[in-house]
């Protein structure tokens, strides 16, 4: 190493030469390092941009004009002193800690109890995770409490995986994790660190002002995002008007545009926003460790506030919601007492899982409910949940908004299931876990309840055979519902070495806002792909553009390169979806080995017959289609994809791209199943047999009529995926503890009967 650097003296070189004569390893290593050094030095450097020369010259002139030592009070611009030893650092650290403790004690003594009463500057309406507050006169950071009084000058900060929303005078300040804000007055705040998203309602009484260390952001009305990193200020205007007052002069940021400032000046002209510039509330969070969203992040998925169920003047005095879940089947009971003075007509529907999913598979009990004055409302509904899976766990989302609008009084949420069903009991009001510890995580906490935020539970579904049964005693007889969630190989489609081909039809019609949404989906998808696979990109924007480095190993830098290529695509190219799909199929069929083609296009069909997947002998090509902006999936795409073991999805911009991607990846996994079936026996009677099913991460259901008798459910299920055939026998006691009776059972039976009769692809 020393010789490489030319730093060795003669004695050292002689000693080294002696060593090298007997050490082949060091010889090889030295040669290798020298080759690396020479390779780097041979590279042609990137030249500075043209404007850099003037930029530097101007700075020098300013510095010279300011006179010597004007900067930093005469401190040299570089410090030649080497680092101190560990012992020295430890000593300094201990000294600093002692001084800090003394200062804190002194400040506490000085300020304790001397704060003047001030009006509150806002209300913390929602938070989760670690959120701290520091108010003037108290000096120390402490955990944010319920009904927290926030005077002028109050500072708040969020920890990792935390969220905070503060409302004040028509402004909602929303902070993701690792951010801080100081409330200065009505409509006035300072971003201390990190990022925030703000929504300013019209008529808030003048401009909302957000101070930062890099400039003052003002907004009379609209929605914007601000990120502060070091001394760089990144602002994006989602709607309304936004301006930044900086040293270099005012900067106007129109809707849909973003600007970056450094040291008071624009780094580049205001440009159309891209990527995370226009991050909405959800996108302000980083993805979880597994590439998915944590339950807290899922809980922040906002559901459109359409048709509140109860008029705002109606108060719910007590509300209890219980959920009994057996695998994919959940029974939800709502019990409430209204403080109403007249009869209320409650026309809402309760759809389990709606908060997380585009739609539930089945729902029941959505008829109007008339509640007399003072009457206790009691409503039971049963649903089959399409639950998102994350790392082997399953999430159940409940959207409180569907049964109430603000204010809501008190919510008690309890979840109960039989011993083998995965959930034992969960009571939200007390925010405690039960002994069984089956619930892995939840978004709820003993904090102010926000009806616009869904409650998300994540629980382990660890029953060995993966079969659940529910007993339904309806007025028209009893039924046994057997739900089976077929196994699929973990990450079957993205095994290491698997090729993933991404074809983006940029000339397609994505509908209003759909193009930007398509980019968001692509970005999330690219970031979700595992590093073990190889990726290739093909795009069409009027001209076909291919990846210069196809099937390179997928890694973060590769994602950035692919995103850059996607951003550079032109808009307004002539549409030619069918030919591009044909080309993409051909392109993805050439490399050997198994592959997945993800065809991203817009709404509408392919303008003609969809080409077939080319036959191959050296591997399997699965095709997936994402129709961005489409409300309904084109049948031709569904047929093309399902025939190849892939999936086709219609993605609406209303669904967050992260959730759309989760759906896509989850469905893709289950789509690997080529054949499934179950044979059931209830007592001595043969039950219903389901054949090969259309899978979209949903359970296989069997509804059985035992002629009024309960019995034992036994059977055998089988599945085939990726050439592997699985068979397993099961034998269940009739699940009396998950019994559902009454009208809800009838409604569920009816809904499930329709579901069980769903035709197979290509049938009828």
């Amino acid at each position: 190493m020393l010789t490489l650097l030319g730093a060795a003296d003669a004695d050292a070189l002689a000693e080294l030469a002696q060593h090298l004569r007997g050490c082949a390893t060091c010889v090889r290593r030295a040669a290798l390092y020298a080759a690396v050094r020479d390779e780097v030095r041979r590279m042609e450097p990137v030249a500075p941009p043209e404007e850099a020369r003037d930029f530097v010259a101007r700075a020098i002139q300013e510095a010279l004009g300011a006179g010597p030592q004007a900067r930093d009070g005469g401190r040299p611009p570089a410090d030649p002193r080497p680092e101190r030893s560990f012992a020295f650092k430890a000593l300094v650290f201990l000294g600093a800690v002692a001084a800090l403790v003394a200062a804190v004690i002194g400040m506490l003594l000085a300020f304790e109890g001397k704060g003047e009463p001030q009006p509150s500057m806002g209300d913390a309406v929602f938070w989760t995770g670690e959120v701290q507050v520091s108010t003037p006169g108290a000096s120390m950071w402490r955990e944010l409490g319920r009904n927290e009084f926030l005077p002028s000058g109050a500072r708040m900060r969020t920890g990792p995986d935390s969220l905070l929303e503060v409302r004040c005078a028509g402004v909602s300040w929303r902070l993701p994790g690792m951010s801080g804000i100081a409330l200065e007055g009505p409509g006035e705040a300072e971003l201390l660190l990190g990022r925030l998203h703000a929504r300013v309602e019209g008529g808030a009484g003048g401009d909302v002002r957000l101070a930062t260390s890099a400039g003052l952001v003002t907004c009379p009305e609209g929605e914007f995002v601000v990120a502060l990193s070091m001394k760089r200020l990144h602002v994006g205007c989602l709607s309304g008007r936004l301006s930044v007052e900086a040293e270099g002069g005012p900067v106007e940021v129109p809707p849909g545009h973003a600007a970056m400032l450094a040291e008071g000046e624009l780094v580049e002209p205001v440009r159309r926003a891209r990527r995370a510039d226009m991050a909405h509330w959800l996108k302000m969070f980083d993805a979880g460790e597994e590439g998915g969203l944590s339950v807290r992040q899922l809980a922040c998925v906002r559901v459109p506030a359409e048709a509140p169920i109860l008029p705002p003047e109606v108060l719910i005095e007590d509300l209890a919601v219980s959920v009994r879940a057996r695998g994919p089947v959940a029974v939800v009971s709502v019990r409430a007492r209204l403080a109403n003075t007249g009869a209320e007509d409650w026309r809402g529907s309760f759809c389990v899982g709606q908060a997380l999913l585009p739609q539930a598979i089945a729902q029941a009990g959505d008829g109007p409910i008339v509640v007399a004055p003072g009457e206790v409302l009691s409503h039971e509904s049963v649903g089959v949940c399409l639950m998102r899976s994350r790392g082997g766990f399953f999430g159940l989302g409940l959207n409180p908004e569907v049964w109430s609008s603000e204010p809501i009084g008190r919510l008690q949420l309890s979840v109960r299931a039989s011993a083998d069903g995965g959930i034992d009991e969960f009571i939200c009001a007390g925010a405690h876990r039960t002994r069984r510890q089956q619930i892995v995580d939840w978004s709820w906490d003993a904090r102010p309840f926000n009806p616009r935020q869904p409650v998300v539970l994540e629980f382990a579904f660890d029953e060995p055979d993966g079969v659940d049964a529910l007993w339904l005693s309806g007025e028209r007889g009893a039924r046994a519902l057997v739900a089976w969630r077929p196994d699929a190989p973990d990450e079957e489609w993205i095994r290491k070495g698997r090729n993933v081909f991404l074809a983006f039809d940029a000339a397609a019609d994505f509908g209003p806002g759909g193009r930007a949404y398509a980019h968001e989906v692509l970005e999330v998808l690219l970031r979700a792909l595992p590093p073990g696979c190889a990726t290739a990109l093909l795009a069409y924007d009027g001209k076909v553009k291919s990846d210069p480095d196809p099937l390179a190993r997928h890694m973060p830098a590769r994602v950035e390169a692919m995103l850059s290529a996607l951003w550079s695509l032109q808009e307004g190219g002539e549409r030619n979806t069918r030919d591009f799909l044909a080309l993409a199929l051909e392109w993805a069929s050439v490399p050997e080995g198994d592959g997945l083609l993800v065809f991203v296009t817009g709404r509408g069909g392919a303008d003609g017959p969809v080409p077939a997947v080319p036959a191959r002998t050296d591997g399997e090509l699965r095709v997936a289609t994402l129709q961005v902006g489409a409300t309904e999936l084109a049948a031709a795409y569904r047929s093309l994809c399902s025939g190849s073991g892939g999936v086709a999805l219609a993605l609406s911009p209303a669904v967050a791209p992260e959730l759309a991607t989760l759906d896509f990846l989850g469905n893709l996994r289950w789509a690997a199943l080529r054949e499934v079936g179950v044979e059931l026996t209830l007592g001595r009677r043969e039950g219903l047999v389901t054949g090969a099913a259309r899978f979209a991460n949903q359970p296989v259901l069997a509804l059985m009529a035992p002629e009024g008798r309960r019995g034992r459910v036994s059977g055998r299920w089988r599945a085939e995926a990726g050439g592997e055939r699985l068979t397993r026998d099961f034998d269940l006691e009739t699940p009396a503890d998950a019994e559902v009776a009454g009208p809800a059972a009838d409604a569920l039976i009816e809904a499930l009967s329709r579901l069980c009769r769903q035709p197979e692809p290509g049938e009828g």
Partner: protein, 186 residues
Amino acid sequence: MDNTPFSESRVEASDEGLWTAFVRGDDSALDALVERYGGDLYWYLLLSTGKQDSAVQYLRNVWAALAAWRRPFEGFASFRAWLYAVATQTCVPAAHPEPFGLTDLIDDIKRGQQVSRRSKLFFALKDMARAVRQPFLLVVVAGLTLEEAAVACNFTVGRTLSSLQKAFHRLARTDAFSGARSGHEM
């Protein structure tokens, strides 16, 4: 830069001579230094930050800091060592280093040549910690000695040497230098 004979004679002047002339009041001497080091320093800053706009900002800051100082430099063996020490301690301070970025860089690289090799170098540097990356860049790209790089980073010589070994080892394992590996490894 201008092409006056005076300027041409400066090309042959040493860095230290130019700095001394600047300290004595000759502003054009600083221009000559900017011209001499502008490209190399920008390349070093670009490799250090991974962001084009950051590199330009820091390029400006470094020269502005030197212009404002206008005194002899002390504690450094040469002007080059001092210049890169200012750049290192300005753009990648140990306490709050800016995250390494690639987005802007890729746009820049796409316009240039040798795309594959150079971009792979960036990707390899991105995965290195600041304490490993900076000594490597100072020695291999900026051409400082081990001792000068240690001073620039405020490291001990031993720590700098250790960091260099790590950087070389990691780069030698990357695809960017597979040719070097196959050509030299037995």
